[in-house]
Symmetry: C2
């Protein structure tokens, strides 16, 4: 777990500012990183020298001596990395656990969107995330979720209108409006949506517009959003960039098509100054395994983007997009957030400095996380036949697309017994249960994408309303999985023939665990191993896919607690 330092300082008070000015003038360094190859993202040069630090700020670059000195031995010193768009909740770790995990990789600032917890707990959830990140060594900036609920085609735990958001405008770490997913509401001029856009008109506003193009894209741009992290191909990147949109290249646990886009950016020499990196959703074990923003850097360079441009994308470009003061560069007056890399190809972090303190060595100052949101799972009692799905001719099938969150819709004949669907031939039953208001709403559907034999998998992480999603080949195991999640306040569970194969409790809003990182990762690995013992799949992790199958803004077809939803037509299927 991470140490906690003095409160994150967004603005130096007068006394501290005077100290910092005089310390810079008089070369009074507390910490000096010596003999580094220092990456200057402004001049695009690498300069050999020292970086002097005090008051949590960079005093200067040049030749310095200081109270404490660290010899970089010629390694490459970069500004601390910035994740331009991330849902902490997707890591399933409490913010302090998450900070520990990504600081080790050199990420020192994140633009967090507490969209998930807001859909479960409303404004209280946003305030919870602000409070829980207040004393972290990681700079946690926040965007206020714009789509709670995401659409009117699902039941969320809370609803946020513009008036509910005003309370957050004066918070020093609140930057703007979070990803505006409901592009239909935007381009049709929906009043509630316009109120939110107006409230944040002078601030950064994140977009979320997979495949939007042409006149609809023009209308969306007119409304105010300034970023997009959903581009699926290079042409989409180019059109949106030309329309003034800042492009997030996203490489999280899912959506790995970005590597081809990187290659085409490199080949075409498309300007990258309005491009930045984000993970959006990335699981802890993936971060541990391959890295965080430093992994995206590695892949960008491997795909031909020059290292200097890639570092700019990971640092100053993100800072400029979100208008972050004093962040994203190694220069006097900037926050002393730094990462020392072995080289500019692998980007393995050798040393991380956050807010002027050497991260690894401060680990002993522990404070326990204080997770106060429990009991977010409120399910109505279930009848034994509540998961029965009546077959009335050919049925709509939700087909997973390998390595993508997109789905395709097919209409096919299916197996049935007594008029009820029987999972068979690669098809599974899928159910989404409303879990916030004891309403008893259950949406039922059929999916193809991974297989299960005599079992069920269930989760309360079901973007974006985070209802309970369960898939299985028999109702008994599905019902048992639901019971198990209700019992532990949410999380993930795998059941086979009535037995619990694996479970990861997520008591904080049914989304996050307050357990140590290693325990969370071990539980996740156990989930995957157990799933592999009764199931099969190609490409990325079925848990991620399940967590997005209820999100009615992603093409082509979804299942919510209200039923099977055709995203292209924006209507429920009969």
């Amino acid at each position: 777990m991470v140490y906690f330092r003095e409160k994150v300082v967004k603005r130096l008070d007068k006394t501290r500012l005077r100290d910092a000015i005089l310390n810079a003038k008089e070369r009074n360094a507390a910490l000096v990183i010596k003999n580094a190859n220092i990456v200057n993202v402004f001049t695009e040069e690498i300069v050999f020298g020292d970086v002097a630090i005090r008051n949590g700020m960079i005093l200067g670059v040049g030749s310095y001596s200081g109270k404490e000195e660290i010899d970089a031995e010629g390694a490459f010193l970069c500004p601390g990395l910035i994740d331009g768009h991330v849902h902490i909740e997707s890591s399933m770790a409490h913010p302090s656990r998450f900070a520990d995990c990504i600081l080790q990789q050199g990420t020192t600032s994140i633009i967090a969107d507490p969209h998930e917890i807001a859909n479960v707990c409303g404004a209280d959830g946003i305030q919870y995330m602000l409070d829980q990140s207040e004393w972290l060594p990681l700079n946690v900036y926040m965007m206020i979720p714009s789509c709670v609920p995401c659409t009117s085609f699902e039941t969320s735990g809370a609803k946020l209108v513009a008036k509910d958001m005003e309370q957050f405008l004066s918070h020093p770490r609140v930057l703007g409006l979070g990803e505006v997913m409901d592009s239909f509401a935007v381009t049709s001029g929906d009043g509630e949506m316009l109120d939110k856009l107006q409230l944040f008109a002078d601030r950064p506003i994140d977009g979320h517009i997979p495949l939007l193009s042409g006149d609809l894209l023009n209308a969306y741009c007119m409304a105010g959003p300034q970023t997009d992290h959903e581009c699926c191909n290079f042409d989409e990147v180019k059109e949106k960039l030309g329309d003034g949109i800042h492009i997030h290249l996203r490489l999280g646990s899912a959506c790995r098509g970005v590597e081809e886009i990187m290659r085409q950016i490199a080949d075409s020499k498309l300007p990258t100054r309005r491009m930045l990196f984000c993970t959006d959703d990335k699981h802890l074990e993936n971060i541990r395994e391959e890295g965080h923003i430093n992994y995206i850097l590695r892949r960008a360079v491997a795909n031909g983007i020059p290292a200097m441009q890639a570092v700019q994308m990971a640092t100053i470009n993100a800072a400029e997009t979100y208008r972050l003061p004093r962040v994203g560069a190694i220069a006097p007056g900037y926050r002393a957030d730094l990462v020392l890399f072995d080289n500019l190809t692998d980007f393995n972090a050798k040393l991380v400095v956050a807010g002027g303190k050497v991260f690894a060595r401060e680990k002993d100052k522990l404070i326990k996380p204080d997770p106060v949101i429990y009991n977010s799972v409120h399910l109505a009692p279930r009848k034994p036949d509540c998961l029965c799905l009546r077959v009335t001719g050919d049925m709509p099938i939700i087909n997973a697309v390998q390595d993508e969150l997109l789905t395709t819709l097919s209409i096919e004949p299916v197996q049935s017994r007594d008029g009820l669907f029987v999972p068979d031939g690669g098809l599974l039953k899928l159910a989404v249960l409303e879990r916030h208001h004891d309403s008893g709403h259950i949406g039922l559907g059929i999916m193809r994408g991974f297989t299960l034999k005599d079992g069920a998998v269930a989760t309360t992480v079901g973007h974006d309303s985070h209802n309970l999603v369960v898939a299985g080949d028999n109702d008994a195991d599905m019902l048992r999985a639901i019971d198990l999640l209700e019992e532990c306040g949410g999380g993930f569970v795998i059941v086979s023939r009535g037995e619990t194969l694996a479970r990861l409790p997520l008591p904080v809003a049914g989304l996050m665990s307050d357990a140590p990182l290693d325990d969370i990762i071990a539980a996740q690995q156990n989930l995957l191993t157990s799933l592999r013992s009764i199931g099969d799949w190609q490409g990325s992790d079925p848990f991620i896919w399940l967590s997005f199958v209820a999100l009615p803004v992603l093409p082509d077809v979804r299942l919510t607690d209200m039923g099977v939803f055709d995203v292209r037509k924006m209507e429920f299927m009969k």
Copy 2:
């Protein structure tokens, strides 16, 4: 004179926003610029096509038809140009006259610093400039002057502390804090200066730091200013850029050394994304003759900077530096500020669109300027011997440096009669009279830089306190020149042997004229012709030099109403 349109809209209200969104979606254009080579500053491509406009905004780029169509015939359509730092007062024209002059050249937005009028009239002067620019087709953004007075080594008309500035923070066109010239106050941690920097800590803050370098530059950066427009050479540009400072390349009426800097930027391929253009101070006749920001574009390209980069510097780079929303690019949702150029070498403006209206054709909608500040010249009565300068050995001489505002100091023997200085051998007498508070303060000195024969030249434009500056070779003509300026409320005057050779009255704060552009320019030309008839000089216009000789932040030596000031030592000379 310019037409006045509806109030400058910084933020669309809800109804207008909905209209704009739906018009973009439905392709309802009011005005279409057809068949243009459209410069996209984001993708760095030039695309042939049409630009659709309505509600003062760009609806989209592509193939459009509209109510009104203008055929660009393949000419190059750029975003309207942005002057990143300008003192309107230096044009000596009322804001509406100034707007008319620069809109013709394709400049559609300016970051104005009402530093001059604030030094004369205080907060009332700033409010006056905001009011007088409220209804202009030009986007006039303002920075609040930080140095009123500029230093404590001169007497200004007003003093502004942080508390006086708070009233302007909520004005939609006020961006940040104006050029922080008193770098000594900044780097020594002066309390009043820190209060101002703190007040604007989250906003753009302009710097002003000729030749500042090393530890002092680091300390200055720590304090918060983010731009500089005073770089004298390429090394200075490079050091400051590397420290995170946005670099203004300034090309106004004075300070023309920037062309060499442009050549070195082009040769070294130094990144230009944090560079922008400004005029700072440029006279109307120079704007008419050679252009405004389009002239800087022309010179940048002539000096080897690629046209696309140069256009970015003139548009989106400035918008990003000052965080201007929806300005600086041709993209959906951006303000319809556009300029059509013959080519990307000469940058002659063929058509200018400001706020969606074709500029030239709207000229008939006239409103008279409403200049309400008069009578700013308050001089104490003068005795006949008030300009006598006693010689006490070798005397300090203020030497002009050709084409620069810098001066050098020399200590030399001078001619005297009865112990009093007699102008001779290329030396002139120089006097600065306090003109705001009837104090009777007069600073006396000796200068070398231009010659006068039997005459005197005087002005109330004397940066930054705008006291009355007069130079001459005899006291009688100097005294007469002072009387003449007192009589007309300030301006410029040339006297020879008791006769008025030329006069330009500037009744608005002693700085600006409400007369038509042609009249102002004619009077300025008459001033120069008349000065030429009794004097001689090399390089730039002596009026500009005289207007800066009282500014005690420019090296090496100055004359204020308090005496001869050694800028290097920051003290008055004995």
